[in-house]
Symmetry: D2
Subunit: 340 residues, 4 copies
Amino acid sequence: MIIVMNNLATEEHIDNVLKKIKEKGLQGTVSKGTEKTVIGAVGDERLLDPELLESLPGVEQALRIVKPYKIVAREWHPKDSVIDIKGHLIGGDHIQIISGPCSVETPDQMEKSANAVKAAGVKLMRGGAFKPRTSPYSFQGSGFDGLDMFRQAADKAGLPIVTELLDVRHLDIFLEQKVDVIQIGTRSMQNFELLKEVGKINIPIILKRGMSATISEWLMAAEYIASGGNHNIIFCERGIRTFETYYRNVLDVTAIPVLKKETHLPVIIDPSHAGGKAWMVAALSRAGIAAGADGLLVEMHPSPCDAWCDADQAINPEELKKLMKELTAIAKILGRSISE
Amino acid sequence: MIIVMNNLATEEHIDNVLKKIKEKGLQGTVSKGTEKTVIGAVGDERLLDPELLESLPGVEQALRIVKPYKIVAREWHPKDSVIDIKGHLIGGDHIQIISGPCSVETPDQMEKSANAVKAAGVKLMRGGAFKPRTSPYSFQGSGFDGLDMFRQAADKAGLPIVTELLDVRHLDIFLEQKVDVIQIGTRSMQNFELLKEVGKINIPIILKRGMSATISEWLMAAEYIASGGNHNIIFCERGIRTFETYYRNVLDVTAIPVLKKETHLPVIIDPSHAGGKAWMVAALSRAGIAAGADGLLVEMHPSPCDAWCDADQAINPEELKKLMKELTAIAKILGRSISE
Amino acid sequence: MIIVMNNLATEEHIDNVLKKIKEKGLQGTVSKGTEKTVIGAVGDERLLDPELLESLPGVEQALRIVKPYKIVAREWHPKDSVIDIKGHLIGGDHIQIISGPCSVETPDQMEKSANAVKAAGVKLMRGGAFKPRTSPYSFQGSGFDGLDMFRQAADKAGLPIVTELLDVRHLDIFLEQKVDVIQIGTRSMQNFELLKEVGKINIPIILKRGMSATISEWLMAAEYIASGGNHNIIFCERGIRTFETYYRNVLDVTAIPVLKKETHLPVIIDPSHAGGKAWMVAALSRAGIAAGADGLLVEMHPSPCDAWCDADQAINPEELKKLMKELTAIAKILGRSISE
Amino acid sequence: MIIVMNNLATEEHIDNVLKKIKEKGLQGTVSKGTEKTVIGAVGDERLLDPELLESLPGVEQALRIVKPYKIVAREWHPKDSVIDIKGHLIGGDHIQIISGPCSVETPDQMEKSANAVKAAGVKLMRGGAFKPRTSPYSFQGSGFDGLDMFRQAADKAGLPIVTELLDVRHLDIFLEQKVDVIQIGTRSMQNFELLKEVGKINIPIILKRGMSATISEWLMAAEYIASGGNHNIIFCERGIRTFETYYRNVLDVTAIPVLKKETHLPVIIDPSHAGGKAWMVAALSRAGIAAGADGLLVEMHPSPCDAWCDADQAINPEELKKLMKELTAIAKILGRSISE
């Protein structure tokens, strides 16, 4: 850690900082520049809180120089992690598309969805049984019955399932239903108690980025899961909140190369929630794969206009087929293969 | 709801929209302007999803005209709600300051804190037993032991306690410990399962604004609590996330007059988490009360430099005393009284 | 325009609104819903200011339903506009890459740059003679001498030039130097006096998006230019400002399909200023073209580490060549051709 | 400057960085920590560009430790600057309110405005002759005729005038008309050519914050003016752009104590443009003065509903009078005096 002293710092202030650094088991070295005095703290920086030092008189700022995340950091694990979902690989050269409806509605809708997913050559199916809705008066999902419908439809089609967990109390039933991939939604990215629980199991986790989470906070949320023992984590960029009101969120494609640099874990995008409109999905999906994403979480509904939730954002089965062709071609240019 | 058709909309498209509106139990009226055709949907707008209509061909946008919140809306409850916390009133003409340390550390620290709170004329005490921390490697709070320490120190000083609940599984022990006010933190504002649970009890709830929650989402989060039956809700503005990096968050004082217009419930601010630095607290506190806030949630530590968490943001007992004097004077100008 | 009255609106308030609407030459129609009264104003909405109506008693909000931009709107001009820059087309099926150094430094650097641009198959060259710098103590560009150096180096290589205009007083010399494309920078997007001046000439204009400009404000800025008579406008997305601090800006790829829907004019991206780091440029460039952009404005320097400005964001000549190959392949998938 | 090397940095990379530092006239010192190697550059940091160093192999990041602004920094000028506007002081203990209509409309409107300003005890008058409008089809201000009307009305009432300059070509006429305070608007905060011009005169400048300018960029914009020789600069916070859509901007009150710490120059707020609605003005004005602002720029119109621009944001003469009383009382609590 680097501690920059302000212009009014006295010798006593400097000694005081050195004392604090020593107390925490690190060693301090003072270096006086032309305009500022700077103290370097050598040792395990994670034991030292910048806030603690910034509360001391004479301190202007304290800067971390070591990254706060460890298990998820590529720095300590240079090779790409490849995650195996019932035989389907994601990460490294392997791209996976995950598709299905926003919410589970009826057995018929789920069967049609599963068939459409399969027909497009997609290997993994998504669907929401529990829906976090802004309004208490909106449809809250079909719950455990929905999860059961989903399991049955997917089993029939031979597709592993991806679904969102939003309450720690539901975890047992998710395990009973053998959910193949657990999704942690944007509103739960910093639900640390939930992260700790999914850190104890070994099912792959899709960790969506919080609506306004920084890259660093997102990596730290993954570190919560990883530090519990579960290293099967897939990051999912789903758009961030900005001042723009034309679209729901801004898909942050820059996060893709940045995460690929900072972590060895796979990174996918959700073009459906990002833009919020079906007509934007193809462009955003292509952008994501072209930028190096390891996959997509994309909403498809057998009959979008009849969807019970977010009706204007699901693409239809034909659009999914066309999109798969374009993405496969783009993946090839980058030397990668899709949904195999 | 107002549905604006685009330039390419045909008669069939218009009929289709009218059909959907009717299906949901509302009535549609078409009005053709110079450049656009507009359809009004008359009836209970809450039954109609704008997304559903926007997914139909020919529709440009669907605009709600009725507010989606009801119980918390001033529109249906023009008088200020006054909440009673063990005899201390908040709302209407009554302003309450809530103060105490960021986190519960030791019995001694809690006793000193309680005495300092009391000495400053503050009537309600805050303290965190469970701390949501960005890093899994940071101090996570002292847990139920901390809650017990807090209860004992506060009881001795005769102060009702305010503390954060971040896991539904902790609620029973919070009730056993007779927590007087439950705080829902910024990261939990859209933890809907948690909101539903605290909606079933009748203890006052402080609902912090999500880091990047809109006013409307915040009101809807309160509506989740209120729709469960608990109407004792206090909004707490704690700074929003922006592009500015000099300070942790931007305290949104505009939210104060806006919430006072939209809801009958009390509104307080948290100047400590907003700015993130002790030296900003007095200015932000005065701004909040001057803008019409019903109170403050302000961090004070008997010895800030030794705090285990956010050491640079707590004010000390002397600063709290001075602040109380300034705030009392500002309150008087506005015809209100503080901490009585 | 739709005017929504609030719950306290009286008949007198409604009459008052109708009067104002009539004064402005439109016609008002009242429709009373279950919860709200709504007034529709039929006629040329551009003559009516929503702010004016919102200042009247009893009015809750006034909503525009017609878009405020006209000449640049696809609504009134469904076919893609193709702009001709000295024989090189951009828009429709034609993609153009524009490359060169951040700033003009020396005749040698410009000659090497021009050769590298040409060698990569790029047809248009960029370079900055006047640099808007955050600090008055930073290098402010080489000015008119630089412009002259640029003109000579580009002429030798047979490349049209693109350079930024930041002061109305420079326009005459830009015209003398026969600048082929004038760039309006992000800080000038709402320098309306400058927009009016470049609206009077017929040289193609690249209009960069303001750092935090909405899509609508950006289209209106273009409308300023277009309403002066110059319809040769190219939009350039260059990253928006958000809360994220890891990268300089967030490249908003969603803006690409959205602008393609709203306007007939070409849309390019600047991957260099967006991310701010050379190692992000390839990923962002691919994302932009895959999302449907009509081109790129990308910084290349013959020796990036020696650049006088933004040294860490320029790619080198070899990287430009490799990138051109990838982009050409992606363009083909989308049925488009690059730099011809 | 502190240069942090990454894990893959070799001895050669370190030597290379040292060489660059030496080339620029500074001295480098290497310190090897447990996890990272850090290089300190001692000397005039302003000569060194962090981007330059970050482009070198092996460098993770380069951090400035000296602030980039100098003349405007309190660090080098601890005492508050007090600016004299025709005998009316602003800064130190002196608070000034500046009021008047958004735009100059007619001689009668200006005379009524001047009288209302005076009647409220306000000493300085504002009014816009040139208006930066988002749409080319909106009223663009009454121009030089308006400026003349303003001058005459203000002279009659004995009020110094404050008006916005948005084009360098207008400066001569502003000087002829003896404009007392020149306002640089939010869209011009980084119009560096304009800043350089107003740096050459010695009329007080109100420098509004850019819509999404950081504190640091704002201070640097002031440094542009100051480095030209004009040190009579008043900062004006006018709300920043965020994700919130309920109000036009978010008034950033935290900027007040922060600027008071960073600069010796006065800081005022514009509550009218911040919130965008007349009913928010009183609350925001009180918040600003309570947070320590040195004044207000507040819109008042003799008949708000008839205003030609931003009709819903001006307060009326009676509201201004009432506000002045509240602000005077708040100023007293802080040991300051208003509009004397």
